[in-house]
């Protein structure tokens, strides 16, 4: 073991990781999936959604921002944490207007997939049905804020990968909304349909126009296997080692 490596335990499994990575990254490299929505590979961690909440040495921490430490004991797949994650997903659903039955993102949506993975058949909280605006001004990209989960993946991707800063937020708490860098709406920005910011959206908030329902039901990303299965199957294949 080099001096750059640390040893930690996730749900009792001993793993080695580079000392500079986060708990989420260390887990993923070892075939352990920690559920997440606002984290996206290649973007700086944000810690917004809290779906990746784990107990690190007993303390609740988002796995996406928590660095690994030598000897750290991490709880991930426990009844308590699964319950917290279910509650967070429930809250995201009732705070927005998520009409899965006609959404173009359905079947490829990470929020929906997260609810499927956690066995949610109905949220436990009352629906709020908030008023949120649609911006269809851009010729190639649609913003439907009804579906926005405020993960900031588009905000970070536009800034860090596209070098543009097209997206940001206005308002606070329940009034927080996705905003764009022009008073003219999305059409007034420098956004291009091929920007990383567009494909970074985990839900159906930022959608490319004229490509909806391209994949038939049954063949979409999360139709057959739960989200995270790809990461876990790496572990299954390594099982003999």
């Amino acid at each position: 073991m080099s001096s750059h490596e640390v040893t930690l335990f996730i749900d009792g499994k001993e793993i080695q990781a580079n000392k500079d990575v986060t708990v989420l990254e260390a887990a993923e490299e070892n075939g352990i999936y920690i559920p997440r929505l606002c984290w996206l590979k290649g973007l700086s961690p944000f810690g917004a959604c809290r779906v990746c909440l784990v107990r690190a040495n007993g303390r609740p921490q988002p796995a996406c921002t928590q660095r690994v430490m030598d000897g750290m004991v991490v709880d991930n797949d426990t009844e308590e944490l699964r319950g917290i994650r279910r509650n967070i997903i429930d809250m995201i659903f009732v705070e927005g207007n998520h009409f899965c039955m006609f959404c173009e993102k359905s079947g490829n949506c990470e929020l929906q997939a997260m609810a499927y993975r956690h066995g949610i058949t109905a949220p436990k909280y009352p629906f709020l049905f908030p008023q949120k605006a649609v911006d269809a001004s851009h010729p190639d990209v649609l913003i439907d804020r009804n579906r926005c989960i405020l993960c900031s993946r588009c905000v970070r991707a536009s800034k860090e990968q596209d070098g543009k800063g097209v997206f940001g937020f206005t308002g606070r708490s329940i009034d927080k909304r996705l905003a764009v860098s022009s008073g003219e709406g999305l059409a007034g920005t420098t956004l291009d349909v091929d920007d990383e910011a567009v494909s970074a959206c985990p839900v159906g908030c930022l959608m490319k126009k004229r490509v909806g329902y391209a994949i038939p039901v049954g063949e979409r990303r999360y139709d057959q296997e739960p989200i995270g299965s790809d990461i876990e199957s790496v572990a299954a294949n390594k099982g003999g080692e």
Partner: protein
């Protein structure tokens, strides 16, 4: 053994979930061996008398009549199931929940581009159930025991759930059968 009693209704739904019940195809012959239908649009029985084992409710509550029917189901059903997205989250009818009811009426009966209403009257006959301010999911009105999402839930989903309930097996549906679309 006497047959289990099943009741079904469509509140603010499109009957698509009932179509999906019929979509179990020839398995419906097995189903009629297991169950007897009480109140249901299939036999047009108007009210549940006595106790029913399983109630399937399609659609959310958009008006006072929906609430009355849902309460009758809750009162008479040992197990009540929200069948489909509208019962669970309001579904497409809940798109009006972001618009005040007054504006909905004005658009539908006064200002809509195809409206012909010279008297400018919004229907208010006492025979017409009054609309609620919003479309409510069933579990926000009465206690609901199980939710079967989908628009509609697939025939396989409905079959698996009914089979489990009627044979006393645990209601654990495989991943592929729980979908929101």
């Amino acid at each position: 053994m006497s047959k289990a009693k099943v009741a079904t209704t469509s509140l603010c739904g499109c009957f698509g979930c009932h179509m999906s019940v019929l979509d179990i195809d020839e398995r419906i012959l097995d189903l009629v061996q297991l169950v007897e239908f009480d109140r249901s649009p299939i036999n047009d029985i108007k009210h549940i008398e006595g106790t029913v084992d399983v109630g399937l409710v399609e659609g959310g509550c958009a008006n006072e009549e929906n609430v009355a029917v849902l309460r009758e189901f809750r009162e008479h059903c040992k197990v009540l199931i929200s069948l489909g997205d509208c019962a669970i989250n309001g579904g497409v009818p809940a798109l009006r929940n972001m618009v005040p009811l007054k504006e909905c009426f004005e658009e539908a009966y006064l200002q809509g581009p195809t409206v012909h209403n010279p008297e400018g009257r919004i229907p208010d006959d006492p025979e017409i159930p009054r609309l609620l301010d919003k479309v409510y999911p069933c579990h926000e009105v009465v206690k609901v025991d199980y939710h079967l999402p989908g628009c509609p839930p697939s025939a396989d989903t409905i079959w698996a759930a009914l089979n489990a309930l009627l044979t006393g097996a645990p209601l654990e549906l495989p991943y592929q059968l729980v979908k929101y679309d």
